[in-house]
């Protein structure tokens, strides 16, 4: 493919990439998408010389003036758009950008048009970047960068070919090039793109950042949750149990993949039940103290004295934007680490942000679950404070049936714990799990569940257990949160979806404090049915998405600092290892050197000398590079064709050099005639120019390959010429 055609193609690919970015990032009007897409298609088919389209396009070819008028009216439209139609500068700016792109695509003839298209695409991809932080941006950005590198490279190549004609003609020159995209060029360009990408990555991770996604599409579109407000109607969790949208992703750094099982994420606790709905009357929040930067610790978070005894569990949680300010963690959270202005907690240990986040947030939590203290396994009378009686033994209306059932179930048991377990077992074994339970409509949904229908889901189970416990005088509360079951084996984390929303029970034991219990049957609440066919692909994609969010979107200055610290602490070992291998490699040399020195000084050679020797060798290498300029050497592997290219390049450089000197070769002047001009105007350079021109003519027009010596000589002559022109 000739270079000019390839340039056209890559320019269109470039424009397409930024266009797709805009389409996915912003909500554009349909007609604009359609117009731009068809403009791209037409431009593409013109590249491929589809004759029908080319002839049609020729019919509607407009004069430059008309195009200018179009651009001006587009600009006018932009102001009207920004003031009245969309009323937003960014949105209307994007619209205007696309209009400009369409116009350029139809008018892609001169070199400056390619420059314009490049600039438009750049602005578009930047706009797309500010509109989103989603994963799809990454492949689009990759495509953009690849096409960008190609376009710049090809632009430069065709520029070299077009320079003489540019000097000649007054009007903007059309693109012309007789060069082809060779396989070598192909790999060079792709390699360059890869190198650019690597460099971008380095820059991305190194330079300090502000934030991402200023104008994210997501705001105002937080995921609607259920069960995490101060009042929760019984049965309100049911409808969302079929929603597969992801709510959060939880990594457990201390846990191995084989240890995973059901994983509870605690949200809110409720104390008051009025027969239809649960309410949290202890929702008075207080701000947590910030111990160290970004670490918030709950002190005395339990409303009762015993401290949790379980092992500490660390979690990294990535929370999607929800409509609730509640933060989730495994029970019971001890400390939260995250970049938040403040974190609040209520008496029940629920955690809140000051307000719901509109973006995805990330935090770590340390939790410690309560285990049943041995003292609680002994039968003991329990006395509860006033607060407990008022809140955790409250019942809406004394239902005798419920109390009778509870007594019936727990009668034979001695301790509080055993009684609770008995009720839990009774519920989970005698009732059927089903999401199709329209109990919320009933006047007494709990009685309906316990005695008539005997079908329900987590909320019903949990509510029934709490009520039964309270009926026999055991303090209990309802907890809502998520029960994670989906383990992503590619990224080693839990995917928590809306359907994982769950309700369970916390029972208060005199010595252990609040202990978690779940009456819902173990298999009942897991996401039902078979896994979707695309499960594997989805899991993989999801794990990539997590990484994307973790390492690109959420990548922060803190992470940068952490990396730097790692590098610093790691550098000592790295340094040692490098030196060791270097020493092993150089051992024969250093040994000989050492023995030589030893014989002279009779002393051991310190390590420093070795290092100094290596440094000197390195400096010598750099000096040699600077002096010998191996990159100016003729390329060996490329053979005759490469030599021809090299001498043609050299000739062009010579022409530029002479131009700087004030002697310009007119486009219509053949090379030998130009020698005579040089000899007349700058006689000292005459021989140098003549000798380069002679070799150039031979290789360029005679296709007589130059030997390496000849090329080397030509390069030396060129350097002489350069120094001549400097003097």
């Amino acid at each position: 493919m000739p270079c000019d055609q390839a340039l056209r193609l890559t320019s269109i690919v470039l424009a397409s990439a930024s266009f797709v970015g805009l389409v996915l990032g912003a909500s554009l009007p349909g007609w604009l998408i359609f117009l731009t897409a068809s403009a791209l298609l037409v431009a593409l088919s013109r590249t491929g010389n589809v004759t029908a389209i080319t002839s049609v396009v020729r019919l509607v070819t407009l004069s430059p003036t008309t195009w200018n008028v179009l651009v001006l009216s587009g600009f006018l439209g932009f102001w009207i758009d920004s003031l009245w139609i969309s009323g937003d500068l960014l949105t209307s700016g994007i619209h205007f950008l696309l209009v400009l792109m369409i116009i350029k695509l139809f008018n892609l003839q001169h070199r400056r048009d390619y420059v314009h298209l490049f600039a438009i695409s750049l602005v578009a991809i930047l706009a797309a970047a500010s509109l989103t932080s989603e994963l799809w941006y990454f492949p689009i950005f990759l495509a953009y960068m690849l096409a960008g590198v190609w376009t710049l490279l090809l632009f430069q190549l065709t520029k070299d070919a077009a320079v003489p004609s540019a000097a000649m003609r007054r009007e903007p020159e059309p693109l012309e090039s007789n060069r082809d995209v060779t396989p070598k060029l192909f790999w060079l360009a792709n390699g360059l793109a890869a190198a650019t990408f690597g460099l971008t990555l380095v820059i991305f991770f190194v330079i300090p950042r502000v934030s991402a996604g200023f104008y994210q599409k997501g705001y105002g579109e937080n995921i609607r949750t259920s069960g995490f407000s101060n009042t929760v109607d019984l049965g309100s969790i049911g409808p969302i149990k079929r929603d597969r949208s992801v709510v959060m992703r939880v990594e457990l750094p201390d846990r191995q993949a084989h240890e995973v099982g059901r994983f509870y994420l605690r949200g809110l606790a409720f104390d008051r039940y009025d027969g239809r709905s649960w309410a949290n009357q202890l929702s008075h929040r207080r701000s947590l103290s910030e111990d160290s930067p970004e670490t918030f610790t709950l002190r005395g978070s339990q409303s009762h004295k015993p401290s949790p005894h379980g092992p500490a569990l660390r979690q990294h949680i990535q929370l999607e934007p929800l409509d609730t300010p509640v933060l989730f963690a495994a029970p019971f959270a001890e400390s939260i680490n995250g970049r938040f202005p403040a974190i609040q907690a209520d008496v029940t240990g629920a955690l809140y942000l000051p307000f719901p986040s509109s973006t995805r947030i990330e935090y770590s939590a340390v939790s410690r679950s309560n285990t049943v203290a041995p003292a609680d396994l002994q039968p003991q009378p329990a006395a509860y404070p006033e607060l407990f009686i008022r809140h955790f033994l409250q019942m809406p209306v004394q239902s005798e049936r419920i109390a009778a059932l509870a007594r019936d179930v727990a009668e034979s048991k001695q301790t509080i714990y055993e009684k609770a377990v008995a009720i839990q077992d009774h519920l989970s074994s005698h009732y059927r799990y089903s999401l199709d339970a329209p109990l919320a409509a009933q006047a007494h949904p709990l009685e309906e569940f316990l005695f008539d229908r005997k079908t329900g889901y987590c909320e019903h189970y949990a509510t029934a257990m709490v009520m039964m416990l309270r009926a026999i005088g055991i303090p209990a509360r309802l907890v809502t949160g998520f029960l994670a079951t989906e383990w992503n084996e590619y990224g080693n984390y839990y995917v928590v979806r809306q359907q994982d929303a769950h309700a369970w029970v916390e029972v208060h034991l005199p010595h252990s404090g609040w202990v978690m219990m779940d009456p819902t049957p173990a298999d009942g609440d897991s996401p039902g049915g078979t896994l979707p066919a695309w499960h594997t692909v989805q899991s993989m994609l999801d794990s990539v998405r997590l990484r994307w969010n973790r390492f690109f979107v959420q990548y922060s200055a803190t992470d940068q600092l952490a990396v730097m610290r790692d590098l610093q602490t790691g550098s000592a070992s790295v340094r040692l290892r490098t030196l060791d291998s270097l020493a092993a490699f150089l051992r024969p040399l250093t040994d000989a050197f050492e023995t030589g020195i030893d014989s002279m000084t009779n002393g051991g050679l310190p390590h420093v000398v070795k290092v100094v020797a290596i440094l000197l060798a390195g400096c010598g290498g750099v000096a040699w590079l600077v002096w010998a300029r191996p990159w100016n050497w003729p390329r060996r592997s490329t053979g005759a064709a490469g030599n021809e290219q090299a001498i043609v390049q050299l000739y062009r450089r010579m022409l530029r050099q002479l131009e700087r000197r004030g002697i310009r070769k007119p486009a219509a002047m053949p090379p030998l005639q130009f020698i005579r001009i040089i000899q007349a105007q700058w006689s000292t350079a005459g021989t140098a120019v003549a000798s380069i021109t002679e070799l150039y003519c031979r290789a360029r027009f005679g296709r007589v390959p130059l030997t390496r010596e000849e090329l080397h000589r030509a390069q030396e002559t060129f350097h002489q010429l350069t120094s001549l022109s400097r003097s």
Partner: protein
């Protein structure tokens, strides 16, 4: 190509012993010879047109004939005639002066178009037909025709389509005073060319002509050449541009020039240099450009200007 440089240089030196101070004319004559072309010399009498043709023929060890074109010259005076041989009781073809290697057609515009065309036909076909018999001409075969641009009375100017048969149109021009002095100082003889010794055999010339075909013209140069031809067709100053035959002629001449200069490949310089000489008699200058007075210079200047507008491949 080393073997071509030596004989060409020898023949060049040989001719320049007679034609003083005109190395370019000699070079172009050799180009025409090697490109299997014919030459139209347009110049005033007495500047050495005949001598040039003669010395070329002498240097090549080739036969040379001169035909003085007059208004009563007949085609048979050129190609020959069949005469009845009484002894053999049959017609016998008596070859005319065209059966020579180098033919000088002096003042070609003085004869009638009929006679002119018989010569031009022979030039392009390299053979002649008389009485249903075809007779091949000698090889190498080259016609050097002359025209006197100063006289117009009683002439039949060659139409452009006929001029096309000549590879190039040349002027010899007056020699510089120094060179002219050398001519005068030379021992006077009726035919200075008679003293020349041949340096090449006819067969050598044919070999050299075959070598011209092998001279390499790079693709971008072919495009350059064609864009010059294209420019003549698009120029407003020209009412009839250069034909494909003209482009072919230029290409052949350029290759021959490269060979004459000791190269086996062409350069942009060759094309640019030869374009006015090879193309100027193949175009019709537009009527808007004034009278056809001195049209030779005018056409040449137009071609030169056009060539200056075509970018050279780098």
């Amino acid at each position: 190509m080393m073997n071509s440089t030596q004989p060409i240089r020898a023949i060049h030196e040989n001719i320049s012993r007679v034609i003083k101070g005109k190395p370019q004319v000699i070079e172009l004559t050799l180009v025409a010879l090697l490109a299997r072309g014919h030459l139209l010399l347009e110049d005033v009498p007495g500047v050495g047109k005949t001598t040039l043709a003669h010395s070329l023929a002498r240097s090549l060890d080739c036969s040379f004939k001169r035909i003085q074109f007059t208004s009563d010259l007949l085609p048979s005076d050129i190609v020959g005639v069949s005469i009845f041989n009484r002894q053999k009781q049959a017609f016998e073809f008596m070859p005319g002066p065209i059966f020579a290697n180098i033919v000088l057609a002096d003042e070609i515009n003085r004869t009638t178009p009929k006679t002119q065309s018989s010569l031009l036909e022979a030039m392009s076909e390299a053979q002649i037909s008389v009485d249903n018999q075809t007779y091949p001409l000698n090889q190498p075969f080259m016609v050097i025709a002359t025209q006197n641009p100063a006289e117009y009375h009683g002439t039949f100017p060659l139409p452009e389509s006929q001029l096309d048969r000549f590879l190039m149109r040349l002027r010899i021009g007056y020699p510089s005073p120094d060179e002219e002095k050398k001519v005068l100082d030379r021992p006077q003889s009726l035919h200075p060319a008679e003293d020349l010794q041949p340096v090449l055999a006819a067969q050598d010339v044919l070999d050299l002509q075959a070598q011209v075909d092998k001279v390499f013209m790079e693709e971008s140069l072919t495009e350059y050449l064609l864009s010059i031809v294209q420019a003549t067709r698009q120029s407003e100053l020209v009412s009839l541009g250069v034909s494909t035959r003209g482009a072919l002629a230029l290409s052949r001449a350029v290759k021959a020039l490269a060979l004459v200069r000791g190269r086996n490949y062409c350069l942009p310089d060759d094309i640019k240099e030869l374009a006015p000489t090879v193309l100027s008699h193949r175009i019709m200058v537009a009527r808007t450009q004034g009278l056809r007075q001195r049209s030779f210079e005018q056409a040449e200047r137009i071609i030169q200007d056009l060539v200056e507008s075509v970018p050279v491949p780098v």
